[in-house]
């Protein structure tokens, strides 16, 4: 397991470490996988992309692990992915991201834009209006996500009131707030990343900017609604495949089990659940491959299209074409007191875009990342 236990991202990723540990302990207590115990090799990647590269080489070459659970930021994933490809490994990326990775060496359990935006944006446009403004972090995640927003707004007959890309590390937003007020959007999509950019919400609330906000990153990762003083995040709508407030029975049991093992966990986020699920999916694949941990044997199982499980969020399945996962998507609304309510949910939302665009890992493995403006070659 290569996850950040220190550095900038630790806040959102400690839960992923715990999720994998919890699933591993449960599986080992129940007799392991196909009679063998799971052994975890854990390195702290320190929120540092070069650490990912070093440790990815080390686990694949020296420790000779069967599978790697790795990565939070897209930059870290793109840093280690060539190494997984080169050394012929198998990596689970258990994180929501900007989508488009078509790589047979990767299994992605996190949500992708078509799952989070094709639900969120039409819903918000229907409810609040069709004039949409986007502010996004200026790197691959923000740029590609903003492209998704732009396309979905257009498909649904809306217009872009404006778009601003903000360099990582910027913490002062007076001018951004004023530009948004000037454009008078009905809906504001915030794709801000990192602790510095999170200051936006407090500053916007202080300037009394009350445009309904939508996001694919907040709440579900860094639990801003728990950390910020209400009501700075009020009127924020987030699509997430799971958070600890999800009110179904399976989730409540999951949260209880988690707190029994990690009593001081401040928050269990969506990536923690994705990480937990990933270990069980891995178990299922190995058992169905008669105990083989070879990647090609596991991929033959995935190709059957029925690697599914009942997760805390609901039923999830791995899509054979893209090796991404279907999700139940919950619309979480942050209320004035920062409690969460769920005005809507969509079950079984598939990661359809890669497959529709022409990525089919059952036939061909391009080891590439695509975007809507740079789709797979036909």
């Amino acid at each position: 397991m290569l996850e950040d236990q220190s550095g900038d991202f630790a806040l959102a990723t400690i839960g992923k470490v715990h999720g994998i540990q919890l699933a591993t302990d449960e599986i080992n207590a129940a007799g392991g996988i196909a009679g063998r115990k799971l052994e975890l090799v854990i390195y702290d990647t320190q929120s540092d992309n070069t650490r990912y590269q070093e440790f990815m080489r080390r686990v694949l070459q020296r420790d000779k692990v069967d599978a790697v659970f790795a990565g939070f930021s897209s930059a870290s994933r793109e840093a280690y992915r060539p190494i997984v490809d080169q050394l012929n490994g198998l990596a689970f990326y258990n994180n929501q991201y900007e989508g488009g990775v078509c790589d047979a060496h990767m299994i992605v359990t996190g949500a992708v834009p078509e799952q989070q935006f094709s639900t969120l944006i039409p819903w918000m446009m229907e409810k609040f209006g069709k004039h949409v403004y986007t502010i996004a972090a200026d790197y691959n995640f923000g740029q590609i996500s903003a492209e998704w927003v732009r396309n979905i707004v257009k498909e649904n007959g809306g217009t872009m009131a404006g778009e601003e890309f903000i360099p990582l590390g910027v913490s002062q937003f007076s001018s951004t707030i004023q530009n948004i007020q000037k454009a008078k959007p009905d809906v504001l999509i915030t794709l801000l990343v990192g602790a510095a950019q999170a200051s936006y919400y407090e500053q916007a609330a202080a300037a009394n900017l009350k445009v309904p906000m939508g996001s694919s990153v907040n709440v579900g990762q860094a639990y801003e609604h728990k950390r910020f003083k209400p009501p700075s995040l009020a009127n924020m709508y987030v699509t997430t495949n799971w958070i600890e407030e999800v009110p179904n029975e399976a989730s409540k049991a999951f949260v209880k089990k988690w707190h029994a093992k990690f009593p001081s966990e401040p928050y269990i986020n969506q990536e923690a659940e994705n990480s937990y699920i990933a270990v069980y999916l891995y178990k299922q694949m190995i058992e169905r491959a008669n105990g083989s941990t070879k990647r090609d044997d596991l991929r033959k199982i995935i190709a059957k299209g029925d690697v599914c499980m009942d997760a805390p969020e609901g039923k999830v399945c791995i899509d054979p074409k893209s090796q991404h996962m279907s999700h139940t998507i919950y619309l979480a609304k942050v209320n004035d007191d920062h409690s969460i309510s769920f005005p809507n949910e969509w079950s079984d939302i598939k990661p359809y875009w890669l497959g529709d665009a022409g990525c089919d890992l059952t036939k061909k493995n391009p080891n590439a990342q695509y975007t809507p403006s740079n789709p797979p070659p036909k």
Binding site: G169, S174, S175, N179, A195, A205, N208, R227, K229
Partner: protein, 288 residues
């Protein structure tokens, strides 16, 4: 028309306030004393954390900020006595030492206090001026920046301490020969710089997410302003803040945050090429 003009003035004031407050402590420690203090951001973080802790314990915000400044100032004094005062003759080594301190402090804070600190919430609400609403607290920040500059000016040019400090830093052995306790003056001056950084942290604490690495959000602006300003605390920082604030506000209003950042850095490169001793070097040329 009035809307746009007021909006621009507000952006301009806001950018100036941020630059000046970022730089205030560093102007003393780096601009005046010549210590390249890479731990400047950690003093700011210290001030912000103490302010937040005090405010959440029920202390009124004004006093909480004073607590933050005091705590950072004390930390500065301790640090100067333990480490920095051994390195005045070795400016390059101070870079490594203060960088090390900065890493230790930010990672140490992460380990001891966890990845984030509770927020305070911005006071004073908002005000509507011609179609736009503004946070009242940002005007407080602008006033605070002006006040701090004024206080620095008075302290270093109109008081006995300021005179001794300038004498000590200009020609240390001469000052010592005249009976000045230069060690004490150095410690006090460094402490004042650290306290100013703490005050900046305290002032911005209500508007930001408090994390152990928050110092890095200030440090570029701080160094940029001090380098453009040059050696004089008041005559450097004030015009540098106004000049860079104007460029940043203009570029950001015109093309967004990215253009603002680029404009700021390009302006700095041009200034240090044309004026190696900064704005105050230019202003003080006749007198030198």
């Amino acid at each position: 028309m009035f809307d746009t003009a007021f909006g621009f003035l507000y952006q301009f004031g806001d950018a100036c306030a941020f630059l000046v407050l970022c730089a205030a402590g560093l102007a003393v420690i780096f601009g005046m004393m010549g210590v390249i203090n890479l731990a400047h951001g950690e003093f700011i973080m210290c001030g912000a954390y103490v302010t937040s802790a005090a405010a959440r314990a029920g202390v009124p915000l004004g006093f909480a900020i004073a607590c933050g400044a005091l705590a950072a100032g004390l930390a500065g004094v301790v640090l100067e006595r333990l480490i920095i005062h051994r390195l005045y003759e070795r400016p390059l080594d101070t870079i490594v030492a203060t960088w090390g301190i900065s890493l230790i402090v930010s990672q140490g804070t992460l380990i001891v206090l966890g990845p984030s600190m509770g927020a305070v919430g911005t006071p004073f609400g908002s005000v509507v001026v011609g179609g736009y609403s503004y946070s009242v607290y940002r005007f407080v920040l602008m006033a605070a920046a002006a006040l701090i500059l004024l206080a620095l000016y008075v302290l270093f040019t109109r008081t006995r301490f300021g005179e001794l400090a300038r004498a000590t830093i200009q020609v240390p052995h001469m000052a010592q020969a005249l009976g000045i306790n230069t060690g004490l003056i150095y410690t006090a001056t460094f402490g004042i710089g650290a306290a100013l950084a703490g005050a900046t942290g305290g002032l911005y604490a209500p508007t930001m997410t408090l994390v152990p690495t928050m110092g890095s959000q200030f440090i570029i602006e701080a160094f940029v302003t001090v380098v453009v300003g040059g050696g004089d605390v008041f005559l450097g920082t004030a015009p540098a803040g106004v000049f860079l604030g104007f460029i940043k506000a203009t570029m950001t209003t015109w093309e967004g945050q990215l253009a603002g950042q680029i404009g700021l850095l390009v302006a700095v490169i041009i200034v240090i090429r044309v004026l190696p001793r900064g704005v105050s070097g230019l202003l003080l040329r006749e007198r030198a």
